[in-house]
Symmetry: C2
């Protein structure tokens, strides 16, 4: 049974999220539908990250097994031909049997984009959180690295999370330096946060970002971030940032 | 009568274009509706460039007169509150009476974005032309400057243009160097063309881009671009590129 690993990008705006569920189009459901047509039987697809409604992916990774032989090129072309243009398979590769996109993921990178200007760009309205009050970018950059390391991230978990432990390792957490952009009249309005970790709790990235924004507003000093981690109390963190600013950028595996 | 100049950005995907017309939402029509509510009478809005359906603007400029006094800040806030989020007034300023956004424009900058990779990015599907066959970016860059200068651009005008003369001055025409991007896995797929001119014929930028793409495909050498200009025959140019890749970037005036 050939097993495949695919890299998938999607604009999450019009989906109920990655996961199949009643009452709405999911990325997983559309992929399964396309692959089932290709394979002539029901195909189950596993995704590395279960992104919420409105969350995007630049490089989600998914795995599945087919019964009929198919080249990676055929998988890319046949699945894309059956998907809406908001979802694209970027790449496919055959893997050893038993490869599981979620269990075997070593780390995932997420990005969160904030548009910090008085007027929201029409081109960012589905791809960034609009915060119109001026944020102290340097305070946010000073607070971000406090997430790095192995910690109990219980303070950043929303109700409804289903994990047995809330300990995770964050490999990097930073506000990106301002890009040297060509031409855009207000590129400086964009604040980009990047985080890499071995796993994430429910709404963890969005709650970290909500906390960073409160620090950027001056409600708390940068040192508050370490205090929230230590307290493990959800009430000490900021609000959950909205989904449209969040992107699953990439998923890393060992040598598969 | 206070006269205003506003800078407007819009995602043109869901509009019939700048210009008011029967059977569809236009940017001009929506702006006029919002301003008419603000002023309590019908307000006519003039745009610097009449962008087609699906064409975007980062910095369209428009002018209008109000009868009631209003601060520029009020104009920005009141109009944005009445517009869909796909259109945003970025800036407003009072101008001398009689200012006319189209007649007084000295030059306009347009940008055209091409996604040259095997798979279209979901995030570019409304903002770039997908050309999947590999293009010779250097040949396109070599051809682009041939448009510069004062020429008769009749070869690049679509039927339906309504100008008395087809002579225009192009101040710059170039393929942008590849950006040094952070992180995007296929930023190299993006080819960006920029052109500044004192005026543009109907579909002129899109027909120039269609010609550049034929040169990029190897159908013609870079020197063909100068030959098309000289021939003034529409049949010697390439096809008209689709609207979704085109952006009106900015409009320049003298000292107003």
């Amino acid at each position: 049974v050939p097993t495949f690993k695919i890299v998938v990008a999607y604009d999450g705006t019009d989906f109920v999220g990655w996961q199949r569920q009643a009452g709405g189009s999911s990325v997983q459901g559309l992929l399964e539908g396309a692959l089932s047509e290709l394979d002539g039987r029901a195909v189950a697809v596993v995704g590395a990250g279960r992104t919420d409604a409105g969350v995007h992916a630049l490089g989600q990774v998914a795995s599945f097994a087919l019964e009929r032989p198919a080249s990676p090129e055929t998988v890319v072309a046949a699945v894309n031909a059956r998907l809406p243009s908001a979802i694209r398979v970027l790449d496919a590769a055959e893997t050893p049997a038993g490869f599981h996109a979620r269990y075997q993921a070593r780390s995932k990178r997420y990005r969160y984009r904030i548009w910090n200007g008085p007027v929201m760009s029409p081109f960012e309205r589905c791809y960034a959180w609009h915060v119109s009050t001026p944020l102290d970018r340097r305070a946010m950059a000073a607070a971000a690295p406090a997430l790095g390391g192995r910690h109990d991230f219980a303070a950043f978990q929303s109700a409804g999370g289903s994990t047995t432990t809330t300990v995770r390792t964050v490999l990097s957490s930073s506000i990106e330096p301002m890009p040297a952009t060509a031409g855009s009249r207000d590129a400086s309005a964009l604040i980009v946060y990047d985080i890499v970790g071995d796993g994430f709790l429910r709404h963890m990235v969005r709650t970290i970002v909500g906390t960073l924004v409160e620090i950027g507003r001056g409600r708390w000093p940068p040192s508050h971030m370490a205090a929230v981690v230590a307290s493990r109390q959800r009430g000490d963190a900021g609000p959950t940032a909205p989904p449209e600013g969040l992107f699953l950028v990439s998923v890393e595996y060992g040598d598969i």
